[in-house]
């Protein structure tokens, strides 16, 4: 009985994780400019990774594979957002202006040129 | 069944297409770095040809677990050859890029027609 429940839960998690990846992909295509597309891409980096890896860990039960899966998940959760941050920062530095930004951010100090 | 029959040759067709895409880039493009990219694609196609050979239906990677009785393994030899070929490809690429940097410094351009014009 427990086995069935675990399987069902992991299948649900994997399905939702897959859906998140799909949404991220579609977002990456449809959204207008660079900064909005990064939001879509980072969706697959964080939410989808979490769901898919937890789903897989349930499948492999208590074994060395689960430990390895946990390590990979940790690595992805660390590097994903950092990469997105570095990407956005580099874009801003090289002068790609976000939409509707008149150079005056809310706190009055000028965003770097 | 006919489609599955043809599917067995799909790898070789992809090898042929990627090989010709790489060769086209090397012949056609005049930017030296684009030529080197074309060259690395050209070499990657050959790796695909070798590794397509080693797959055995239902076989696993050639790592012999102790206890498990009669396992079916894929062929290890093409993998050894391709390990060597990958590193050869990277070495040639590194040398090519060093030359492109020196050409840029002495000629100021990395477009082949401008370089030939300069001499």
């Amino acid at each position: 009985m427990i086995e069935l429940a675990l399987d069902v839960v992991s299948w649900v998690l994997l399905a939702v994780g897959g859906a998140c990846v799909l949404i991220g992909g579609i977002g990456g295509l449809r959204l207008p400019n660079f900064y909005t597309r990064i939001h879509a891409a980072s969706l697959t980096d964080t939410m989808a990774t979490l769901l898919i890896f937890v789903g897989m860990m349930l499948q492999s039960g208590l074994s060395l594979a689960t430990l390895k899966l946990f390590a990979i998940m940790l690595f992805l959760l660390l590097t994903g957002p950092t990469a997105t941050y570095a990407l956005a920062n580099a874009a801003l530095l090289s002068g790609l202006k976000p939409e509707g930004d008149t150079g005056q951010s809310k706190h009055g100090e000028n965003t770097q040129p | 069944m006919k489609l599955l029959e043809l599917l067995g040759y799909y790898n070789y067709w992809v090898f042929a297409v990627v090989l010709t895409v790489g060769l086209y880039a090397v012949i056609r493009k005049r930017n030296l770095i684009k030529k080197l990219i074309g060259l690395s694609i050209f070499q990657s196609a050959v790796f695909l040809l070798y590794i397509t050979m080693d797959k055995v239906e239902g076989g696993t990677a050639p790592i012999i677990q102790k206890g498990v009785p009669d396992q079916v393994f894929s062929n290890p030899l093409p993998q050894v050859l391709i390990l060597t070929a990958i590193v050869v490809g990277v070495s040639t690429l590194a040398l090519g890029l060093a030359m492109v940097v020196r050409i840029k410094e002495s000629y100021g351009t990395i477009e082949e027609h401008e370089i030939l014009g300069a001499d």
Partner: protein
């Protein structure tokens, strides 16, 4: 295992392992001394191997202790012994003479890297000749190619860089074509050892991949060996390379690729594929004839001395391929002999060019006026090697031209037209050698050039004269290379064990 049995392995290991050591020898001149010692050691090993082969024992060496089809086997027979002598001889001679010329062209702190690359090139070429495993030949072909790219790109001349980049692109495409060919043969026969491949290729039912593999290997190696339509990289690469590098590469680099082409086509494809002999002749003969005629005519009108000699190299490669395309014992003997004699003649000529470069910044023929009065010994050596290139009786070139003509006559109906081609191209060779002699001896020195007696440094001059005298010696007493050439012909085509 006694020391003598280790020789095939030592032939490659000695230059290869001394390359990293030389990188560490920073103080001046030490790098050159180390490299020359390693070069001479490998030449001595090659001589010992040749002696062993001459009295009948072809050396087979199972690398790592594993038998042939499973491990990698090295094999030194008559043909590889001849080419080994050629490679290590050219390498050692060029290294001996290199110190003065390289000091002028390459900064001292980069010289250890330069000499390490030189030894890697030597080890790569020796590795190709000694190996009997198809994939192993690819690996060592890459080592020798990378080393020759480094050597050519070393010079002060900025035009060397685009030339060597083109050579890198075409050389890598050639090596990858060769890799595809070996892959296809491995796919159909399941083995990589050359002898094993020859045994198993007969009972392959589906011939298509084997024919495609034959095409790929032949085109790949033709690219590497600068056979006529695919030779565009050679003139520029050899012209703008440092002078001593041109001496080393012109003498042996392209010949090793031809060695692999001949060994593959006569060992692996020949006797089993039904009409392959005809196909090989159909492919190689026209290319060789075209190469000889077109390259010789281009050389006649070439202004720069080094580019003239480089273009004439393409014609000489055409001779070697012409001999191989007869696929007869006489043909293979002629092409093996011409490999040896051309290395001697062209090596001597480029050594003389290196001597000339000491006092003449610009090597164009129009600028070389009055060279004979200023550098009589160098010009005399240049004339001797030029005569050997033409094939004047009494010099080494004559022997191989004579063998080529007899092989052409034996080859049946096309014989006479080929003899005509050989004679016409020899006449063209006379013309372009005469143009050099006329520029050196009879042209007036340009106005401000001083005509004081100023010879090249002694070390370089001695080696140049040694090679010139060798040209004459092997013209009069050719039995050493001839014996090896006959042995290789018997082995490859005659079906001897």
């Amino acid at each position: 295992m006694t020391f003598m049995e280790h020789l095939p392995a030592l032939q490659v290991v000695v230059p290869m392992l001394s390359a990293p050591l030389i990188v560490l020898l920073q103080p001046r001149g030490l790098a050159w001394a180390g490299a020359t010692a390693a070069g001479l050691a490998s030449f001595a090993i090659a001589i010992a191997l040749a002696m062993a082969v001459l009295d009948g024992q072809t050396q087979v060496y199972a690398m790592g202790g594993w038998a042939a089809p499973y491990g990698i086997a090295l094999e030194v027979d008559a043909f590889s012994a001849l080419v080994l002598l050629l490679v290590t001889g050219a390498g050692a001679a060029a290294l001996l003479a290199a110190r003065v010329s390289v000091d002028r062209q390459i900064e001292p702190e980069r010289q250890p890297l330069f000499y390490a690359a030189w030894l890697l090139g030597l080890a790569g070429l020796a590795g190709i000749v000694v190996s009997a495993d198809a994939f192993n030949i690819f690996v060592f072909m890459e080592i020798s190619s990378l080393a020759s790219y480094i050597l050519i790109a070393g010079g002060p001349d900025r035009r060397a860089l685009p030339a060597v980049f083109k050579y890198l692109i075409m050389g890598t495409i050639g090596a990858t074509f060769y890799l595809i060919g070996v892959g296809l043969i491995y796919m159909m026969t399941g083995t990589l050892n050359l002898a094993d491949m020859q045994a198993r290729i007969g009972d392959v039912v589906a011939l298509n991949p084997i024919l495609v593999a034959a095409g790929f290997i032949t085109i790949g190696l033709a690219l590497k060996a600068a056979v006529f339509p695919l030779h565009v990289w050679l003139p520029n690469a050899y012209t703008h390379a440092p002078h001593m590098v041109t001496v080393f590469l012109a003498a042996c680099a392209t010949k090793v690729a031809l060695y692999v082409l001949i060994r593959f086509d006569s060992m692996v494809f020949q006797d089993r594929l039904s009409d392959h002999e005809f196909q090989f002749t159909l492919f190689a003969l026209p290319l060789a004839v075209l190469g000889i005629l077109v390259a010789s005519s281009v050389a006649m009108f070439e202004g720069h001395l080094k580019r003239l000699l480089a273009t004439s190299s393409v014609a000489q490669i055409g001779y070697i391929l012409l001999g191989a395309s007869f696929v007869s014992e006489a043909g293979i003997t002629a092409s093996a002999m011409h490999m040896f004699n051309h290395a001697l003649a062209k090596g001597g000529l480029f050594l003389a060019v290196a001597c000339l470069a000491f006092h003449f910044r610009d090597l164009r023929l129009s600028e070389l006026g009055g060279a004979a009065r200023r550098m009589p010994l160098t010009c005399a050596a240049l004339v001797v090697c030029g005569l050997s290139l033409i094939g004047v009786p009494g010099t080494a070139g004559f022997i191989s031209k004579w063998l080529l003509i007899t092989a052409a006559l034996e080859s049946g109906l096309w014989g006479w037209s080929l003899v005509a081609v050989i004679l016409v191209s020899s006449l063209m060779a006379v013309v372009y050698i005469w143009r050099i002699v006329e520029a050196l001896y009879f042209q007036q020195a340009s106005a401000e050039g001083d005509t004081s007696f100023a010879e090249a440094p002694l070390q370089l001059l001695l080696v140049t004269w040694a090679v010139a005298l060798l040209n004459i010696f092997f013209g009069l007493f050719p039995h050493l290379p001839l014996a090896l050439a006959n042995g290789s012909a018997a082995l490859l085509v005659g079906g001897a064990p």
